[in-house]
């Protein structure tokens, strides 16, 4: 007779045993009194208690530390009401003294467990109770991977792919937030706009791949000059960068702006088509919104743009500063 095939629809016992032992989660079957009838390999390995010792003993007596109250109540309820019970890892952690492999004699942290207890109806008065234990560590790890993945994705959503600076989308969010904070806390806020001089000529002369390299170098140089984590560099568009300087007034922002201008120049990237220098340079405009001045975001951005325009017309490779109150025309109150 072929021992593999089921006889009359039943799997022979020794095959069934091999199946239980092949299952990669813990299986314990107890009778109505709590006496152990099945103790698979997984449980034997993770508890350090072989099946020969476990079978026909009571679950509680096998574990010297005893079972947790919630586990005992759950087992009792399943036997009494014959309704299945979930013991989630989140709320129970490690109800049974099971350990990660290899199990050592030393103080080891218990395995993270997810447990399901189901009644097994036998047709007789007393029901059996199947306890299934899965290793929740796997879920924790999988979740960690997914989480770091989604964090990376969200990082990608706010980063400019070429330069690694923040993108325009991020700028919109951060600038709005910082502007609101400056208004609420009555502190100054400065915004630097920086444009690479004669960049179009550079591209035409050296090619776009070389132009891309310049942008990458400029972004890196700008970042290197900022010390506070709240100061952020944004690729505003094309060859234009923006730097948000929270809690920085006219004086501080001009010092930073000058450092940024010098850093670009000090990259010493040759630029034969530049009309003002032999290397890549940048023009810098700053707008500062002082506390207690009437200002709105549109006006703020416009002022920074005006300052940059003024730097371009003032000979390039220089810094120009404006206060938001220097705004060309009065800002309509209440405009966003």
């Amino acid at each position: 007779m072929n021992s593999i095939t089921a006889k009359n629809g039943f799997i022979p016992e020794r095959i069934a045993d091999r199946i239980w032992d092949s299952i990669k989660s813990g299986l314990i079957l107890v009778d109505g009194e709590g006496k152990i009838m099945l103790w698979n390999d997984w449980i034997a390995q993770h508890s350090g208690i072989p099946a020969e010792f476990a079978l026909n003993h009571f679950l509680g007596s096998l574990f010297p530390e005893g079972l947790t109250a919630s586990f005992k109540v759950a087992l009792k309820n399943v036997l009494q009401y014959k309704l299945p019970i979930v013991l989630s890892n989140a709320l129970h952690r490690s109800p049974l003294p099971l350990y990660p492999l290899p199990v050592t004699q030393h103080m080891q942290e218990r395995l993270q467990q997810s447990i399901v207890i189901t009644p097994i109806v036998t047709g007789e008065e007393k029901h059996l109770c199947l306890i299934q234990i899965t290793d929740a560590t796997l879920s924790i790890n999988r979740e960690r991977v997914l989480k770091s993945h989604s964090e990376r994705l969200s990082q990608e959503a706010i980063t400019d792919a070429l330069t690694g600076a923040y993108n325009r989308r991020f700028f919109g969010e951060r600038f709005t937030a910082e502007f609101g904070r400056a208004q609420r806390q009555n502190i100054p806020l400065s915004l630097i706009m920086l444009d690479v001089d004669y960049f179009k000529y550079y591209n035409d002369s050296y090619g776009h791949p070389a132009g891309d390299k310049v942008l990458i170098s400029v972004a890196r140089a700008l970042k290197s000059q900022l010390n506070r984590p709240t100061d952020v560099v944004v690729r505003y568009g094309g060859e234009e960068f923006a730097v948000i300087l929270p809690d920085s007034g006219s004086e501080g922002s001009q010092i930073v702006a000058e450092r940024l201008r010098a850093a670009v120049s000090n990259l010493n990237i040759p630029h034969r088509e530049s009309k003002i220098a032999d290397r890549v340079t940048a023009s810098v405009g700053i707008a500062t919104c002082q506390p207690d001045t009437d200002c709105n975001m549109a006006c703020f951005l416009e002022t920074a743009d005006t300052a940059l325009y003024s730097a371009k017309h003032g000979g390039r490779n220089c810094v120009r500063h404006l206060l938001t109150s220097d705004c060309g025309r009065p800002c309509p109150p209440g405009t966003p």
Binding site: A69, N77, Y81, A90, S114, P119, S139
Partner: protein, 202 residues
């Protein structure tokens, strides 16, 4: 529609109140604090009548824990609640334990367990009071927009729904939800027959 007599409704309400008491007691053991759980009233609807307005579940996302049970009558027992409020409670419980990681998969399992506690308490109370044996599947958790979750419920063969409003207070948080029993009219008749037998036995 309400073909249930006042006495039948009263008996059902009492059964569920006792279930709610058991559930609150189990939950308070987990939380380590007092839990208030009340089931003020039972109503009967046609499943086609059910929508988000009737249940006044206006949250965008609903969580549902479902167990199918059978015995002298069959039904799908479901706990419906607004997901964000339930998550707050799960987070509170998890945070009150040392070293618990904020893991979404665990939240779902924890939701399953909370639903399981409430559903089992109601089923066991029903089994005790009506002196019947009920078997149940394991709980399954699903989550989605109110529309999708309710449509799934209604799309199952036309049936009746016993709807119980649930008020749960855990650790200063308040959660409203519904306990819904979806059952065929023949199962409802069998349930009512058991209730009548129970009332007659008093």
């Amino acid at each position: 529609m309400n073909p249930l007599s006042e006495l039948q409704l009263d008996a059902l309400t009492e059964i569920f109140n006792i279930g709610a008491g058991r559930a609150a007691s189990s939950l308070s053991e987990i939380v380590g604090d007092e839990v208030k759980l009340s089931v003020p009233c039972v109503q009967l609807y046609q499943s086609t009548e059910i929508n988000a307005d009737i249940l006044s579940l206006n949250s965008s996302r609903l969580g549902a824990v479902k167990q199918s049970f059978n015995g002298p009558f069959h039904a799908d027992a479901m706990l419906l609640f607004t997901e964000d409020r339930a998550l707050e409670i799960v987070h509170d419980i998890m945070n009150s334990q040392v070293g618990v990681e904020d893991v979404a998969e665990f939240e779902q399992e924890a939701m399953c367990e909370l639903g399981n506690i409430i559903l089992n308490a109601c089923l066991s109370s029903m089994a005790d009071m009506l002196d019947v044996t009920l078997n149940s599947s394991l709980p399954v958790y699903s989550v989605g927009t109110a529309e999708v979750v309710l449509r799934q419920i209604v799309s199952e063969s036309p049936s009746l729904m016993l709807v119980l409003h649930i008020d749960l207070n855990i650790e200063k948080r308040h959660l409203q939800g519904y306990l819904v029993f979806l059952l065929s009219s023949s199962s409802l008749q069998k349930l009512l027959a058991h209730i009548d037998r129970f009332i007659a036995g008093i």
